[in-house]
């Protein structure tokens, strides 16, 4: 579902963020990207969304080589990939329902379908009672649920999450992870960058560890630290 081949990213000024990363994420897989700050996790996710262009190598997302994608096709790529971020990235002047609906409206989806889908997904994330609230009127955990609802509302085959529990307390983080796990069980491929070893250890899924831009471990059903080390 996601394939990276010898991917490298060098920023202006020669800062190397990612080097020679190759990995395959199969359909329906849940993969954790772990590693210290500056190891290249977020850059990898940004490259999969074409927020950043690769310096070298190739990335295929849902079967398409996105390194060759013309600029005008990028929005279509992003409609097939749900995204969740640490800072939620909600539109502050739209209500919960409007934020979620926005992801469908950009695709030109008819109003009746938008309404139905939004209600369904808000029910899934447990926010049916707060559809008319604005982001500022919600807790951090609730805002992240809205963000997940928006990422999942058009049933994307892939969901990318960059530190989705980074701003949340442990109890709320567990709730968010349950939600992501539930989404993964519907067949959605999930790739999540995180620092949260407790979550990685609890979930026991595939772990790709990065260090200074390189993959230093790729292990199935693993914890935050290598099974060999623990």
């Amino acid at each position: 579902m996601i394939r990276l081949h010898n991917v490298a990213k060098v920023y202006d000024g020669g800062v190397v963020a990612v080097q020679e990363v190759s990995m395959d994420v199969r359909k329906g897989e849940f993969v954790f990207l772990v590693g210290p700050s500056g190891s290249g996790k977020s850059t990898l996710i940004r490259m999969c969304l074409r927020e950043e262009k690769v310096t070298r190598g190739k990335i295929w997302v849902a079967g398409k080589d996105i390194t060759k994608l013309p600029t005008w096709r990028v929005p279509y790529l992003r409609r097939t990939v749900g995204t969740v971020f640490q800072d939620f990235k909600l539109l502050p002047n739209k209500t919960v329902a409007e934020n979620v609906a926005f992801a469908l409206k950009v695709t030109g989806c008819p109003r009746s379908i938008v309404r139905r889908q939004v209600n369904t997904v808000l029910e899934l994330v447990g926010l049916s009672a707060k559809t008319d609230r604005y982001p500022r009127q919600l807790s951090g955990g609730e805002q992240q649920r809205v963000s997940i609802a928006r990422a999942f509302v058009n049933r994307p085959p892939i969901l990318l999450a960059d530190e989705p529990t980074g701003n949340l307390d442990p109890a709320t983080s567990v709730g968010i992870m349950r939600l992501l796990d539930r989404i993964n069980r519907t067949g959605t491929t999930v790739m999540m960058a995180t620092h949260d070893f407790a979550i990685v250890d609890a979930m026991r899924r595939r772990v790709v560890q990065l260090d200074r831009g390189r993959v230093v471990r790729d292990q199935g059903e693993s914890g935050y630290e290598s099974s060999d080390e623990s």
Partner: protein, 290 residues
């Protein structure tokens, strides 16, 4: 269709949220376009008021009816013999009526109240040297056939020579004010986008295409331009109505053809909308790179 309605709705929500800046832009566009529109009307007033002088008539000698065409012909012969006169010709009542209808073609109500009999015959004089008009005037003072003498004075001569300059200044002003309206709208939209750059980044992340982001801003810019243009047209109409009430003689007119005002209003509104479209497109360009 629902997408278009959504985008229009977004534009008006943006305008409401951005009300202060948008109001400032509307007023600035209003001032620019009112000046531009004012320049167009002023040019038209100059053109209308100098129309009868532009055909080479330097003096118009309005004649009394006494004596009839025979006496008028004798006077015409005398005038043609004056050394200062290059050419003189007679306009009878019918000709005067035709000219009247031409000048007041935009005011049929006025034309309906006047007949050929109400208008005086006249002798139109073209001089060799415009500065000698006072000598001709002197010769004619006290002549029994003279009803009134209209002089194409040096002031009018200067005004006419200035007409070309005024036209150029007017057109320059229209272009300058139009360009400033575009820049003002571009700046307003750029400020609006800058204030919402994070929102735009989020919209892009969830898959919004450039046109989806662009259209509300373009509608916003076009609305600002249309409102500014509408206010400018209203101000010019109001000023024109005030000017119309000033009592004038046959020489000075403060009225322009309503058709002229209407066509220029449509032009100003269209320009306002177009300025908004161009301005917002310019303002958006650098913010929409993926």
């Amino acid at each position: 269709m629902s997408t278009l309605l959504f985008l229009i709705g977004e534009a008006f929500v943006n305008l409401r949220r951005n009300a202060l800046v948008a109001t400032g832009a509307v007023l600035a566009v209003f001032v620019s376009l009112a000046l531009a529109f004012g320049a167009l009307v002023f040019n038209e007033l100059v053109r209308v008021n100098t129309l009868q002088w532009q055909e080479g008539d330097h003096l118009i000698i309005f004649l009394k009816d006494e004596g009839g065409p025979v006496a008028h012909s004798e006077l015409l012969e005398q005038i043609n013999d004056y050394p200062e006169v290059k050419n003189a010709w007679y306009m009878d009542k019918a000709g005067a009526y035709q000219e009247f209808l031409e000048i007041y073609s935009d005011q049929p109500a006025l034309a309906a109240t006047v007949t050929a009999a109400d208008l005086p015959a006249s002798i139109r004089v073209e001089l060799d040297d415009i500065s000698t008009y006072q000598e001709v005037q002197f010769r004619l003072v006290g002549h029994p056939l003279l009803r009134r003498l209209s002089v194409f004075s040096e002031g009018i001569e200067r005004l006419l020579s200035l007409t070309g300059v005024l036209n150029s200044i007017g057109i320059g002003l229209v272009v300058l004010m139009g360009a400033s309206a575009v820049v003002l709208i571009a700046n307003t939209i750029r400020m609006a986008i800058y204030a919402r750059r994070e929102e735009i980044a989020i919209m892009k992340l969830v898959g919004a295409g450039n046109w989806f982001i662009r259209v509300p801003f373009i509608i916003e810019g076009a609305t600002v331009g249309l409102l500014g243009g509408g206010l400018a047209a209203a101000a010019v109409f109001a000023s024109h109505n005030l000017l119309e009430r000033i009592p004038t003689d046959i020489l000075i007119r403060f009225q322009v053809d309503p058709g002229f005002l209407l066509s220029r209003t449509i032009l100003i509104l269209a320009f306002g909308g177009l300025a908004g479209f161009i301005g917002s497109s310019l303002g958006l360009r650098r913010f929409l790179r993926v």
